[in-house]
Amino acid sequence: MKIVLSWLRDFVDIDMPLDQLARLLTMAGLEVEEVRLVGLPMPPMEKHEFKFTGLSWDADKIVVAQINEVMSHPNADRLVLCKLWDGQQEHIVLTGAPNLFPYKGQGSLSAPLKVAYAKEGARIYDGHQSGQVLTTLKRAKIRGVESYSMVCSEKELGISDEHEGVIILDDDAPTGMPLVEYMGDAVFEISILPNMIRNACHLGVAREIAALTGKPLRMPVSKMPADGPSIEDQVRIEITDPSLNPRFVFGLIRGVRSQPSPYWVQRRLRLAGMRPINSTVDATNYVMLEINQPLHAFDYDVLVQRAGGKPPTVITRPAYPGEKLTTLDNVERTLDPFTIMVTDTAGALSLAGVMGGLESEITENTQNVLLEGATWNFVNIRRTVAAQRLPSEAAYRFSRGIHPALAMQGVQLCLDRMAQWSGGQIASGFVDAYPEPLVDPRVVITTEDVQRSLGIHLSAEQVADLLSRLEFTCQVEGERITVQTPPHRLDIGQGVVGVADLIEEIARIYGYDNIPASRLADTLPEQKGNPSLEMEEKIKDILVGLGLQEVITYRLTSPEREARLLPPGLSLGDVSYYVRLQNPIAADRCVMRRSLLSSVLEVLEHNIRLRDHLAFFEIGPVYIPQQDELLPDEKPQLVIVLSGCRDLPSWDQPEVQMMDFYDLKGIIESLLGGLCVQDVKYEPSDDPVFHPGKCARILVGDADIGVFGELHPLIMERFDFESAGSPVLAAEIDFDALLYAIPSRREIKPVPLFPPVLEDIAVVVDEDISSDRVMAVIVETGGALLTDVRLFDVYRGEQVGQGKKSLAYKLTYQAPDRTLTDAEATRIRQRIIDALGEQLDAQLRG
């Protein structure tokens, strides 16, 4: 919302510097995003608490001047020479402004033209370059005529983009006065909070300033007499549903003549971001920006004609199914039943509160204006704006709620402005349909309420004073204040909500800065911790300690992205397989993921050429729709992905080895070991994502907690992994199952006091006997005195024969209470060898 400083001054005195005003507004919830200087000097600031832009006009070099005569240029048809008086001396100024051409050759002008005059050395914007490019006026010869100064356009002075002609000021502008003094201004770009729509106008912002500074607020007043023939019986209003249209007011003005508005009106509208049209239309926009009430002007004669020459009846109602209307922007629109229509006996006239219809719109030639000021249900306006994709200044306000009292004020003020700027005679009286007048809330608040919420003690009188500044009417009885909401705001509720609404207003005007900070002194709630999060953090720490990089990926993906992990020949199931978005932002982010592995492989793909060694993990949910459940299961998973060389190549060891299955298995073993997970087994698995011979399932007891392995070559082909020249290893672990497998406590064994007996054995077994089975026999047979077994060599070759392998183990025997004798160790060893021979047909290797 663009708020113009000079406009604010119509309603409240402002004597503080611009940055202080910006701070005052911001700290009251009217956040100033930018201050655009339109002539005024930049305030001195130590810290730039606000963004200042725009142009300051040098008081010496840019002044109000008058053109006394416009003469033709001796050498150029498209230029004129102006005889100009700047209050001190006469100048001949060259310009190509088309709006001066009509005065050419008229001799000395009886009514001199007041203009904005920039002298040599003035800094202004270059009118011939797009955007705002600063330039300094220099002496030059144009077509043989000396030029050192100029008459300015709005663009050159930073008022607007308008560069068609020069500014012609109003006749009463004092010649010789520095322009900054005459009309130097600033525009505050204020972001309006959803509950502060009342401040989307100059009166609203001025009211806040008055409340914050204690200065009086001047209300806008009407000046023109309303003494024409009465509006009574000239038009009738029928409201079919007061909940959609609480109030509808008509006023009438006869004999208007639309023309360009006075320059100061045009300037204000432009500064506030609206385009001046003509004095009649401008009046409606001006009043909306002034007091917030959107207004709509009908050509009265068109309505009479549509009513067959009789006084028209205007009816408001919901649109009929399939009803059509061509709006002002010349678009034929098909309407929904939630759209409210303004109609007459001949059909639709306008989309209530959003946009007028083409037919009944006023034109340059309209003489009699029927002016509508109405109030609409904000929900219907919102839905219409959304359905028609038709935002407008009126709809912006109506969709947030405009108080019905403003309808009457708006019509009154607007008729006055029309009469001032377009001439005409205001009909006396109004036609006002207001079937169920709004009762503004009355809220009882106590000083205890304020104390309990804000932590400060204010007396009942202080509370009443703060609220009265915002025009609340307060009655104090002891510690109770009965507060009547003023008839311009809809944001105050009833009862306990109303109390909270008022406390916010009290805090805002009192100043958040003035409320002292304290520390929580209330009862500390029960401290429960969050065990699953704590364990998740521990798991992350272990994985990071093992050299892995955590990643966090998008949880939105597409079935096509995830299809890369589907086994060849299979396609996606039915649509209920996914949580799908109704309004995806992009085709490749249209469902919630079901595969975390797919997301992490995308990360690997992105980075594959950037580093020699890549090791990633992510812990995050996948989303599985549940039959007969509204919401999906959000199942957390752990995914690990490895690719590239085992160690980083270095200057003394340029040879590197690629990571393989056992690197990933080692990470999983270290992770499970670090979490003290017991009873872990690895079984070959045939998960189709993985290489059939290089894939294992992780079992904890009987529970399957995940799968890992080397990616299947056919899956690899679907990703851009080729150039890496390394296998891709991946693990997909059910995170909840992993958490469940972690023992809640464990005992630490005492450090042994007696020396161990160490021994190596190597056995030869058939190739198809897994290492796991050999290990199991050793551990089982070894019993309690066998405290550690470690496989240290696997050998295949001539010495052991074809189809055989040799497995070598380091065995540690140890007793907790004595030093073991060699004889004892030998007995255990012999038992192990016998058992291996019996159960696995293993031969001791010599």
Binding site: I197, V551, H606
Partner: protein, 347 residues
């Protein structure tokens, strides 16, 4: 007589000869040769002991004493020389083994947490010390929990504040903030006091750009109790800002609007890049917006199962990615889920 004098004289010569030659010994081998020559069984000084019988009975102890003194002197000199030679040898080894210390070291491969996790952990730690528990809730939510119970009815103007992803199941959406967790935790806890932080991934229907993402982390705070005031909320957040952004961090609370809090505020911290003078990070205004916050709205308390006439509370929400960006002058939010190692490795 003459014999005694002669032998004494000889001892002097033995000593001075031996010491002279010892000075020339430079290697361990030569040193051992010297030792055999001058202290071995056949050494000159040892010969003197065999000749003690040649002198008179009275002179014999004197000569013996003198011979012992010479032997001891040679032994001491030998030990000193041995020590010196060892030192020299060590020195030579040390010089020979000198490395080019500027060659790069062998770095173990280091893992890292994602920057968003790192920031989340700092936030968790600060609030944990103030007694806040961590509470998590689901990403896919109902309209009821995400909006209606938070005092945001359908078609409410405030709905414009959240661009929402809806799923194809009516009434089910991707949470736009972690606030649904407020209702969940209150309903689980009422009427006991609550002091929690609610972290989680949230989603907004926005074009992905350097400034906006469709997915982002949020951390919310919720405190509910019988004596919770605006002052408490100001104090708690100010303490947090000091710990997160440094002891000198200046903050301010500026009125704002959220449907689920009232009074509502935005907390700004003075730009720590420029100290408030105005720079590109703070877009010239000297302040950085870091948190939306406020006293819990009575309707929300009621929906959570607390009587607003007895209970009050405050809530606040912040974005860890945004905070990370501000702290490290990161200018593109897409880096976070892009997971480019060249970004991740810098944290």
């Amino acid at each position: 007589m003459a014999q005694y004098e002669e032998l004494l004289q000889k001892l002097e010569e033995i000593q001075s000869n031996a010491l002279n030659s010892l000075e020339k010994v430079e290697t361990e081998t030569d040193l051992q040769t010297w030792r055999t020559a001058h202290l071995g069984r056949n050494a000159a000084v040892m010969q003197i002991f065999t000749q003690l019988g040649q002198v008179s009975k009275e002179q014999r102890p004197l000569l013996g004493q003198r011979a012992n003194q010479v032997k001891l002197a040679l032994e001491t000199a030998f030990e000193e020389r041995e020590e010196t030679l060892k030192k020299i040898a060590l020195q030579e080894t040390l010089v020979r083994d000198r490395l080019d210390v500027t060659l790069p070291g062998r770095r173990p491969i280091r893992g890292r947490l994602h920057p968003a996790t790192q920031t989340l952990r700092r936030i968790f730690a600060i609030f944990a010390e103030m007694g806040f528990q961590i509470y998590r809730s689901r990403d896919v939510e109902t309209d009821e929990y995400n909006f209606e119970l938070l005092n945001i009815p359908a078609y409410h103007p405030a709905r414009d504040m959240w661009d929402t992803f809806f799923t194809t199941t009516p009434g089910v959406l991707l949470r736009t903030h972690t606030s649904p967790g407020q209702i969940h935790i209150m309903r689980e806890n009422a009427p006991n006091p609550v002091r929690v932080i609610l972290p989680g991934m949230c989603y907004r229907y926005e074009q992905i750009s350097a400034r906006s993402e469709i997915q982002f982390n949020q951390v919310e705070l919720l405190v509910v109790g019988r004596n919770i005031t605006f002052g408490d909320f100001k104090g708690t957040l100010t303490d947090f800002a000091r710990r997160m952004f440094g002891g000198h961090a200046r903050t301010r609370l500026r009125p704002s609007y959220f449907p689920f809090t009232e009074p509502s505020a935005e907390m700004d911290v003075e730009c720590f890049v420029c100290g408030g003078k105005g720079c590109s990070v703070c877009k010239g205004c000297g302040w950085l917006e870091i948190m939306g916050c406020g006293m819990v709205h009575p309707v929300v308390l009621q929906n959570g199962g607390y009587d607003p006439n007895e209970f009050s509370g405050f809530a606040a929400g912040m974005g860890p990615e945004r905070i990370t960006m501000l702290l490290h002058c990161v200018d593109d939010i897409r880096y976070f889920w892009g997971n480019d190692v060249r970004f991740l490795e810098q944290f």
